[in-house]
Symmetry: C2
Subunit: 508 residues, 2 copies
Amino acid sequence: MTRDATKRRERRVVTSGPRQMPFAKVTNRYPPIALLSADEIESIHHASLRLLSEIGMEVMHDESRALLKAAGASVDESTQRVRFDPAMIKEKIKTVPSSFTLQARDPAKNLKLGDGNLIFAATGGPAFAHDIERGRRAGNYQDMCDYIKVVQRLNVIHQEGGCPCEPTDLPADSRHLDFYLAAIRYTDKNWQCWALGGYRVEDAIEMLSIALGQSREELRRNPATLTIVNSNSPLRLDIPMGEGLCAMARAGQPVAMTPFTLSGAMSPVTIAGALAQQNAEALALITLSQIVAAGAPVMYGGFTSNVDMRTGAPAFGTPEYAKAQIASGQLARRYNIPFRSSNVTASNCVDVQAAYESGMSLWSTIMGGVHLIEHAAGWLEGGLTASFEKLILDAEMLQLMRSFLDPLKIDEDNLAFDAMQEVGPGGHFFGAAHTLARFDQAFYEPMLSDWRNFETWSETGAKTGTERAHLIWKDLLRTYEAPPLDPAKAEALEAYVVKRKEEIHAKS
Amino acid sequence: MTRDATKRRERRVVTSGPRQMPFAKVTNRYPPIALLSADEIESIHHASLRLLSEIGMEVMHDESRALLKAAGASVDESTQRVRFDPAMIKEKIKTVPSSFTLQARDPAKNLKLGDGNLIFAATGGPAFAHDIERGRRAGNYQDMCDYIKVVQRLNVIHQEGGCPCEPTDLPADSRHLDFYLAAIRYTDKNWQCWALGGYRVEDAIEMLSIALGQSREELRRNPATLTIVNSNSPLRLDIPMGEGLCAMARAGQPVAMTPFTLSGAMSPVTIAGALAQQNAEALALITLSQIVAAGAPVMYGGFTSNVDMRTGAPAFGTPEYAKAQIASGQLARRYNIPFRSSNVTASNCVDVQAAYESGMSLWSTIMGGVHLIEHAAGWLEGGLTASFEKLILDAEMLQLMRSFLDPLKIDEDNLAFDAMQEVGPGGHFFGAAHTLARFDQAFYEPMLSDWRNFETWSETGAKTGTERAHLIWKDLLRTYEAPPLDPAKAEALEAYVVKRKEEIHAKS
């Protein structure tokens, strides 16, 4: 980064918009919580190997099935059922890297995934956009761009999460190009691409090659995007996801293998059973990735939650979810594979339920040793909606967690004997020398929380946290400045998008 | 409990009001999170001993000072300063019991404090009452009674927390009697008494003696109330609190010794310093309790938080608070003394901030190994206000945590191989035999969370969690039934209150 660019960023952080923490690497120093014993983890491991060996996965994607067969899996072509020898799985997953680094357009925002690092990604994939002024509406290009801009402004968010809301006002088969261009243009953070079909992966890699001025081989060695591949639970890999998985692995770009195991619907009604199934599906997809390209970076994705058995509605941020995430972290560590989880809620609005379900998610995933929190900010309504106010609420909660992970300093200076001697019984510390030397950096300063007394708060409109969040995202959007992009690259990217849209629409 | 009483309770739980978990003992099986190393804990321990030895505490209560002097402390009568020999502290705290049991009027609701047990107490001490319909008002007798009734109805709350809101419409010097009578009449759970002055403690014990039909000696062996004693931080014990502490210890009733160490105001601006001061004050008060009566039950109270250094306003549920609570748990365990902490927020209304600050509090205190969560439900606005909606919000969050603490079962039946074989790839589990046998008990069922889809939620009024909480507490209050109380005891209690009011008002 040039000196000018550094200065420019510092100025932006300091002088415009609400106060917030700077962009930074986050390290989790706590030993992860263990929910299950080592024996119990082995029971789940063995149950999942038995599932893969005796029941197997239905692999609808021909190339994936052929690759698995060539690697020694037993394949029944009439049912597309693939059964995995446990020994093959154990052998293949040995090549999974325990960590990897993702490039961002601003190299100061490169991300290390794995080890003790903790990455917060914005929400990706919702169909709707929402804010409290305009309500809920179908995802559209304008909201998508605005959301990416606010994500760029929120320093606590490390990564754009794969399109905040589907731009449903654009053609379905080419809107990924509009998203990729917006992601490159409006943020200098790393962003996630779409796995749904091999051509969408290819377009992401081509555009990153232009944006970063790197060859595909350079990108293969230094990945610059990540995607989520969901199995079609139970025990099925469909064609678009199979294509996406193979394309990403061949290109050396990381994939978070994430079974969609909702206990009671797509998985057994017991969390143990759902975890066994999650583990089976994750191991199957990870095995496939290593067959495509040994050493391809992947993540172990945990998404196990449950449905409301009265209505069939999915539930998120529940006690079951919290337990499943902690257990998932234990499973991922058993294989020494970086762990992806999520910040989830089923609430339909940005209310106390959204806050406590997200709180359950964040505490359990972080204390469970997660490396990537997908949907860390903005997810509402079981993932159907990207909310602007939820984005701010979550950013505040992420700041709280990040500050919580900063270690306490216990040394003579901090133990402050002299200050207590100076102040003595019954005094106060506001004016103590020890206080005056530290007061401006002493404590976490919130972006969203209002700590003023009731009278002052009432006089200034008695605004709830959700109402304050509305003002904050608007302020961030208003004061947004696009990170500089070489005009030649911008032009080349635009030309690429035009050309590809012509190709795609000519075909359809 | 008679069979009829059992039946009556079961009927109440099952047939009226919102669905909720049954009253139950809660066990925390997780090993507590350790934030600090053993060496760092020792540094805080030694810093606090040095504080007590070199600076000392100002003890304004004559009897306490005399007792400490007789036990070997160095006392300067001109300044009321008491300096503690570290050896005396180490010796005296040896007699603190590591756990104790509190009697409730319903013996099925007796409470064990310490070991792996987790007790949730309702909020105690606020000056104001609040609900979203009537807004914030001065605490009063009617709100106090209504609040106690809702606390009685909420099964997840183990203990009344020492008066939900001050009945400011009653005379200050006798309103404790009105609270005690209401606590005995409207709930059969254990309740906390007031420590502010010895006569308030004596009245609680006399009234418990009548209510339970037990002598004071029986109550001494089997305590039936608990109170909070705050030091007047920094390093001061005032007269009313000194009186209360001595009266409780003599009567064998437990005290949670809770320094009021707000970092930056009543404590050093560093959390390490605030913890050293907290530890010093807690050890001083605990030492005093054991001098009054060796073996008196006490708790180590952690309340360290920080102020906003821009305004001086207290902040709660912050990252600093979370870290201080986890460290406090480590300190309490160092002395093998049961640990008390709190569920706190500085929010002025029942909004997302209230939810995430309480979430920070609950996760950190519970994962930090707390035994008693004071203000576990209802606390708002830095403790100035008891909110009816916050009571419901917190009860839901407590239910979530309680369910989270239930262990996952990992066995062949739960691993559900047969169910997955029955359903197979691409199917669903709604109708599987394994599901049908378990669906009605499989998952946590919320009281407050709304998991219905957006359309259904919108059609039924698009109510926020706070609005739903309002309906829930009203429903609980409407369907409240007083737990049976022997009419002779009720009469004796009323007569006691009348007599004592006459005595108190004759004096004043």
